[in-house]
């Protein structure tokens, strides 16, 4: 029992990352009709926003410390962050410690700008082109983006820990009345899950309850009519691309303490998130979220020891197997609309 609860927790957590990326993909697909293979790269860029932000915070001047030696026996050069000079050492340390959550504030504008530039500079020329062209040009862009990141940050993973307050884990079992110590779950992953739900909720609320959102939704359903009403839907769709980029970026920022990021993390997530989108149903936002969580949970269950022992290799293929079964039984995915992307 406790094992099952534990794996559901795990799945929700992993699934919320899938859901966030798939949500952005679907937003772009639904509004602009573009299949964006660079979306994984946006997730990766978000993670590197967090790294960049923490490096900015730790920008340092070099002080030579004669009392210590480095590996060659020369006097040790010690880095002292400028931020200590500005805010004092203790406040500076707090800021550096909280760099991941603070990076959200940094990442939102950066990612929106990246998204808008991407849409205006490249994607907009591809609205009328075949989906295969869109896939390829964004795939090319993804390669370029990750190579640029690799050039500046290297190929190795870069650790970016969560604030100390969130290090450690929460005894979930004790909280729900089971034996203590049976279900413990890291604080930061709980934060990640809540954050993801909050973000998904705000995207839905934004689309549901604001005039802007209503226009965008109307445009998703019937672009021409909305344009006939004299509304500049293009501009709004550009902004939606920025929002989708920001969603992927924030998913990346908050993910850094879970997995230290490296330049190809976007590609690692790309295939899975496409599977998620398709399983959820192309163009369906709730479908993307539901499929993300569902596949996350499935993946977690498949990684249980008892399951692997019964079906060797199932953990390698479960997501794809699920995708195949769902697509064969529900032709348009879980919540897909008819006629989307079938030709």
């Amino acid at each position: 029992m406790d094992q099952i609860i534990l794996q559901i927790l795990n799945g929700l957590d992993k699934g919320s990352a899938y859901a966030l990326i798939a949500l952005g993909l679907t937003l772009i697909f639904g509004t602009l009709g573009v299949v964006n293979f660079a979306h994984g790269a946006l997730f990766m860029l978000g993670a590197f926003c967090a790294i960049t932000f923490s490096r900015i915070l730790s920008l340092s001047k070099v002080v030579v410390d004669e009392t210590q030696k480095d590996f060659l026996g020369n006097p040790l050069k010690v880095d002292v962050p400028y931020i200590y000079d500005w805010f004092g050492e203790s406040a500076g340390q707090v800021l550096i410690n909280w760099s991941v959550p603070l990076a959200i504030l940094f990442a939102i504008p950066v990612m929106i700008i990246i998204g808008v530039v991407m849409e205006r500079g490249l994607i907009k020329h591809f609205y009328k082109r075949p989906h295969a062209d869109q896939i390829l040009v964004t795939f090319g862009l993804a390669i370029v983006l990750q190579e640029i990141i690799k050039y500046y940050f290297g190929a190795n993973q870069i650790p970016n820990p969560a604030p100390e307050a969130f290090i450690g884990s929460f005894d979930f079992g004790a909280a729900i009345g089971l034996k203590a110590g049976t279900i413990i779950y890291p604080y930061w992953r709980i934060v990640y899950f809540c954050f993801a739900m909050l973000l998904i909720g705000s995207v839905f609320a934004f689309l549901q309850f604001t005039t802007f959102g209503m226009v965008v939704r109307a445009g998703m359903a019937d672009r021409e009519t909305v344009e006939l009403l004299g509304i500049n839907i293009d501009k709004r769709f550009t902004i939606m691309f920025g929002v989708a980029a920001a969603v992927a970026g924030l998913a990346g920022v908050m993910y850094t303490p879970i997995n230290p990021p490296n330049y190809h993390m976007g590609m690692d997530f790309l295939v899975i998130s496409f599977v998620v989108v398709v399983v959820g149903g192309m163009g369906s936002l709730p479908g993307a979220v539901a499929a993300g969580l569902l596949l996350g949970i499935l993946e977690s269950f498949a990684s249980m020891r008892q399951v692997i022992e019964a079906l060797p290799g199932i953990n390698q293929v479960v997501i794809y197997l699920a995708a195949i079964v769902i697509l064969l039984t529900r032709p348009r995915g879980l919540m897909g609309r008819k006629g989307v992307m079938e030709e």
């Binding site: 993973q157 884990s169 879970i258 997995n259 230290p260 020891r305 953990n315």
Partner: protein, 451 residues
Amino acid sequence: MTKTKLTRRSVMQTGAVAGAGLAVPTILTAGSHSGFANAPTGSSVTLGFNVPQSGPYADEGADELRAYKLAVEHLNGEGDGGMLQTFSSKALDGTGILGKKVEYVTGDTQTKPDAARASARSMIEKDGAIMITGGSSSGVAVAVQALCQEAGIIFMAGLTHSNDTTGKDKKANGFRHFFNSYMTGAALAPVLADRYGSDRKAYHLTADYNWGYTTEEAVRNSTEALGWETVAAVKTPLSQTDFSSYVAPVLNSGADVLVLNHYGGNMVNSLTSAVEFGLRAAQANGKNFEIVVPLYSRLMAKGAGKNVAGIFGTTGWHWSLENTAGSRYAGTNAFVKSFGEKYGFPPSQAAHTCYCQTLLYADAVQRGGSFNPCSVVEALEGFEFDGMGNGPTLYRAEDHQCIKDVLVVRGKENPANDFDLLELVDVTPAEAVTFDPAIFGGELGSCNPGA
């Protein structure tokens, strides 16, 4: 007018026809005269450095390449000579190899066997490389080693830790300086039993591919021999990025030690998850819960950040070795000095093994008096040397595996800087990790000179 010749093997040599008249076709004869592939004919000799320049191990590959460039400098008599001063064999004199200036070509393995073979073949066929070296995974090493055997070229493996490289997939033309999974198990188990006691229950998470299998087997066998019990061993997909669903059940499994048979990004991510799930701080069976990472590298430790603190593993070499463990490991400081002065930071173990391999190859050619692979094989088989940072070392004839001390290290609690991440716990002497070369099967075959 055109005369042609059918060569056995594709022999292609730059510089073979210098000075020939434009109108007169010339027969290429390099191969047939010397009797081996890619025999150098001019005043220089070309080595092929085949390292991952793209993909997840690109940083490790970059470090290997730095070491190779340094080795070439030293062989050509530039720089401070590095380990040439401490190396027990004095055959090399800084005038290249057999008087020929050392040049090199580079290729990108992409850490994929296919791509690695393509780039190795290009270096052999196009650039006339006489020796191929490098790589940072066993899949690549095994694949390229087989290719070199077929082409009649010497292969000096870079970082490869699987038993297979000099075990079931060993080849006469291939040599490995780095240690293997078996030696990791043999070195690690006694230290673990000593520190954590001999009644431990271990839970293995194993990367689902060849290296993972041999490492799990080695660590299991040697820990079980000392009284440990293996509660479970779960395979994890190589492409996995989030290990939470594998790590989470560990605490309730009855185990009190988690062994992560992972390398590279896999290890960084699984270790991060394990620490996140509180395993470092937990208690099980009345003992402190422990995590073990059989194969450490400094770059991985850097990727995992603070999470490596206090975690045991083995490593082939560490830049601080001579300072902490004494002059048995002479050569270390000489290498660190030339590397550090050139690049500004200390070398990784991958860089060390690649540097040594280049020098060992050059030395074997020099001692044997020929670039012929069979002469090199003869010179390296059973070769005993010292002064290359690992203490007295034997290149074993039976399986072309270097037998040397293995270091057991631990992640530092409070690293002073970015490089000072591992501290030496113990050195397991070569005798303790020596094994019977027959246990892994495979056949060495005979040396292949190519042409």
